[in-house]
Symmetry: C2
Subunit: 409 residues, 2 copies
C-alpha cells in the first residue's frame, strides 16, 4: 500500500480558499441537532450501562430490525437474522473481501469503480478487472466476454462488485431492465454479486430503482447510514445469505469483537424518535439544488470536447476531458487555481481514466460549486492552450489507484 | 473459523439463574451517567456537524493527545503522531496482524494467552507458538529455546504477543525485572514485541508496573478505553514506531475509512469534563472487593489438588484442576449446576489447558461470585467422585481454540 500523490495533494486542498469538488463528505449541517442531543442524552440516562457495554458480534437486534424497514423502501424483503452490522459499509466490504478472496483471485468491478473498494480488494492481493459499460451501467455482453476470457485463462473470479445507484465515481444509475440483465448473466455464469448501495435513498429526480437484492436473495447487499444520516457513527450493514452471514460474523468478532455499540443504539434512537424519512427528503432537496448548480455551471463554462454524466442521485459527476489532457498531471494546476477534484485514474486498477475527473456536489454550497466549476473550466482551458502551443502534453507516469483517503469517500 | 462448542454453550449460559464467571465484561453500572449524558448532549449541540462527520483515518488529534496523557501514567512518553485509534484494541490487534503476518508465519504468545488474539492470529493463518512461563510471566530461557528451535526449523517469527499486566486469562503480572529480561532477550534475538495492556490501570493492590513500552520505543503497544471507561464506544489505540504507524493508518483506511468518530469525541469529552481518574479508583475498589470474594471462596470451597493464581489487577483467576479432570468436558455439568466458566483449552492454540479454567470476577457482584465458586467447587468434586468410581474420565476430543465470542473478552 502506498500513499499516492493524489492523497498528498489533498492535504493541501483542505485550505479554505480552495473549492473542494473532491470530497465525498455528506453535508450534515441541517440535521436536527437539538432533537438528536436530547434523545441521545435520554438514551444514556435510561439505558447507559447497556449502550456503553460490549454487544453482539452480529450487531444489536433492534437496529437490524429497523434496517430491514429501511431496505423495504428499496423493495428488499429481508430478515434481521441475515443482517450483520459493520463499522461503516467500508468495513462490510473489507470483511466480505476477507472471507471470499485469496491472493490472485479476481474481483470484477464497474469501469470506473469506487476507489475505497479497489484499495480494499488490492489489500487482499485480489486483482481488480474492470467490465466495460455504457450510460446504463455494466454492459452485459462485456461482462460475458470478460468472464469467458478470465475463465479461459484459468483465473478464479470471486464476485462482481457493483454500485448500481448513482455510482461512485461515475454518477451512473443502472435502470431496472439492465439490473435484471446483469443478474441474469451472473446467475447463468455462476458469478456472485456484491451490491453496494450507500446513496440508495438519495434519489434526486424520481423514486429509487429497486435494489438488485430485491429480486435475487443470493446477492450480498451493503448498506450504510453514512449518507442518509451521518458517517461519524460508522454504522453500515451487510445483508447476506445465511451461510455467508455466519462467516461474516466470525470475521467481525475477530476484527473488532463487536461493531460500535453506542453508535448502533444512537441510530436506533434517531430512527425511532426523529422524522428520518423527512430528513432524507430535505437532503434530497438540498443535493438536487447543488447538482443542478453543477450541471448548469458545466454547461455554461466547460470548453468544447468535454462531456459529463447527468446523475439522478448521489454525490458525483464524472467528467471526460478533451483528448490529450491528463487529469492527474493537471491536479497541481487545479490546486494553484483554488479548485480540487479527484483525477479519474484513482477509480481504476489498470491505468485507465487519465482523461477523467470526479467532481462532487455534496459538500460545498451551490454558489461555491459554481465558482469551483468556473475555476476548473479555466484550468482545462489553460491545459488546452498549452497543448495547442507545444503540440504534446508533458509526460506523466500512469498513476496508481489511490487509497481511500480523507477526501475520497 | 469454527463456532466452537464453548460458544454454543454460552448462548445457554446467559440465563439469569446461571452465575457467569465466564464473561470478561466490565461492570460499568457505576459510571456517572448524568454527567456523561449532559456532556454528550452539549457536544452534539455545539459541535454536531463535526462529531458526526467522517474523520481522520489515524483518529482525531485531540483524543490522541489525551491518550498520551493516559499512557504517561504507566511511564510511557509518546507523541500523539505515533498513536493510531482503532475500533477497540481488538481491531488494533487485527491490523497489526494484517500488516505483519503472512500465512505460515509464527506468533509467539504466553502460555496461556488471550482467546481473541489467538483467534485473530489464526484467522491470518499464522501459527501461534506458546512460550512456557511461571508465576512471573514469560520464562526468558524458554523464550530463548523456543526461538532457537523455530529458527533452526526455518520458521519466520513475526512478533511476541504479551499481556504483561494481569494477563487474560492467567491473571499473572510480570514484575519489572522480568519485563526487562524478556525485552533484553527479544532485542538480542531481533524479536518484535507487541504489548497488549487493556487492564493496565486497573491495579488492585499497588500502583501499576510501568509498561514495557516505557523503556523500549520499538515495542508496539495496544491500549483501550473498554475497561477503564466503557467498551461500547469501541475505542482503543496502537502506539507504534513511525514506519509501522504509517502502515497501520493505511490498513485502517482500507478497513473502515476511519475509526468511530462520534465515539472518539464522546471519550474526549469524558476525559475533559469528568473525573476519569477518580472513576478508575472507584472501579479498582469495586473490583478489589470482587477479587477478594473470589479468592476467599476458592480457598474455602475448592477440593485439595486444585490451585489458582492470585491476580494483583485485572479481571481473571486461572484455576488448575486436579489431575484427571477435563474442564471442557465438565462445562455442560457446570451449566447444569448453574455456573459458567471458560475452559482453559480456549486459551491455547495447541491443545494444552485441559485441566484449566478461567474464572472472572469482573461482572457479577461479590455475593453472586461466592455462590458461583461454591457451585463450581461442587461440580469439580462431583467430577472427582466419578473419577474415583470409574477410575478413568470420559474420553473427550481436544477442543479447538474458541473464537472471541460475546462472553470471552
Amino acid at each position: 500500500m502506498k500513499v499516492s500523490a493524489v492523497r498528498a495533494l489533498f492535504a493541501v486542498a483542505n485550505r479554505p480558499e480552495i473549492v473542494s469538488l473532491a470530497g465525498g463528505m455528506p453535508n450534515i449541517h441541517d440535521l436536527p441537532l437539538g432533537d438528536i442531543a436530547s434523545n441521545v442524552a435520554e438514551m444514556i440516562l435510561t439505558n447507559g450501562a447497556k449502550v456503553m457495554q460490549y454487544g453482539s458480534g452480529q450487531g444489536e437486534p433492534r437496529i437490524r430490525e429497523q434496517i430491514c424497514d429501511v431496505m423495504a423502501l428499496e423493495g428488499i424483503s429481508a430478515h434481521p437474522d441475515d443482517v450483520m452490522i459493520s463499522a461503516g459499509s467500508q468495513q462490510g466490504l473489507d470483511l466480505v473481501t476477507r472471507i471470499f478472496c485469496d491472493p490472485g483471485d479476481v474481483v470484477l468491478a464497474e469501469s470506473p469503480s469506487y476507489v475505497g473498494a479497489i484499495g480494499t480488494f488490492l489489500s487482499y492481493q485480489a486483482e481488480v478487472v474492470h467490465v466495460a459499460g455504457d450510460d446504463c451501467g455494466i454492459d452485459p455482453d462485456a461482462l460475458r466476454e470478460t468472464v469467458a476470457r478470465l475463465e479461459a485463462a484459468g483465473r478464479r473470479i470471486k464476485f462482481l462488485y457493483t454500485i448500481p445507484n448513482y455510482n461512485n465515481p461515475s454518477g451512473i444509475t443502472q435502470p431496472w431492465e439492465r439490473r435484471v440483465e446483469v443478474l441474469g448473466v451472473c446467475r447463468e455464469l455462476g458469478i456472485l454479486v456484491v451490491e453496494d448501495n450507500p446513496y440508495g435513498l438519495l434519489s434526486l429526480d424520481a423514486d429509487p430503482v429497486p435494489a438488485m437484492r430485491s429480486v435475487d436473495s443470493d446477492v450480498i447487499y451493503l448498506g450504510s447510514f453514512s449518507k442518509t444520516f451521518a458517517p461519524g457513527f460508522r454504522v453500515g450493514w451487510v445483508l447476506a445469505p445465511h451461510a455467508v452471514r455466519e462467516k461474516l460474523v466470525l470475521a467481525q468478532e475477530s476484527a473488532t469483537l463487536c461493531p460500535p455499540v453506542f453508535s448502533q443504539f444512537a441510530i436506533s434512537t434517531y430512527l425511532e424518535h426523529s422524522d428520518w424519512q423527512g430528513q432524507i427528503d430535505a437532503f434530497r432537496t438540498m443535493y438536487r439544488t447543488r447538482r443542478d448548480a453543477m450541471l448548469k455551471a458545466l454547461a455554461d463554462h466547460m470548453p468544447p470536447g468535454t462531456s459529463w454524466t447527468h446523475p439522478i442521485g448521489g454525490f458525483f459527476v464524472w467528467v471526460t476531458l478533451p483528448e490529450g489532457i491528463d487529469a492527474q498531471a493537471m491536479l497541481p494546476r487545479g490546486v494553484d487555481a483554488r479548485v480540487a477534484f479527484v483525477p479519474g485514474a484513482a477509480f481504476f486498477a489498470d491505468g485507465q481514466g487519465a482523461r477523467n475527473a470526479r467532481l462532487s456536489y455534496c459538500f460545498p454550497p451551490a454558489e461555491r460549486i459554481i465558482i469551483g466549476v468556473e475555476r476548473f473550466a479555466d484550468v482545462v482551458r489553460n491545459e488546452l492552450d498549452v497543448l495547442d502551443i507545444f503540440g504534446v502534453r508533458a509526460p506523466t507516469k500512469h498513476p496508481q489507484a489511490a487509497g481511500p483517503g480523507a477526501e475520497t469517500y
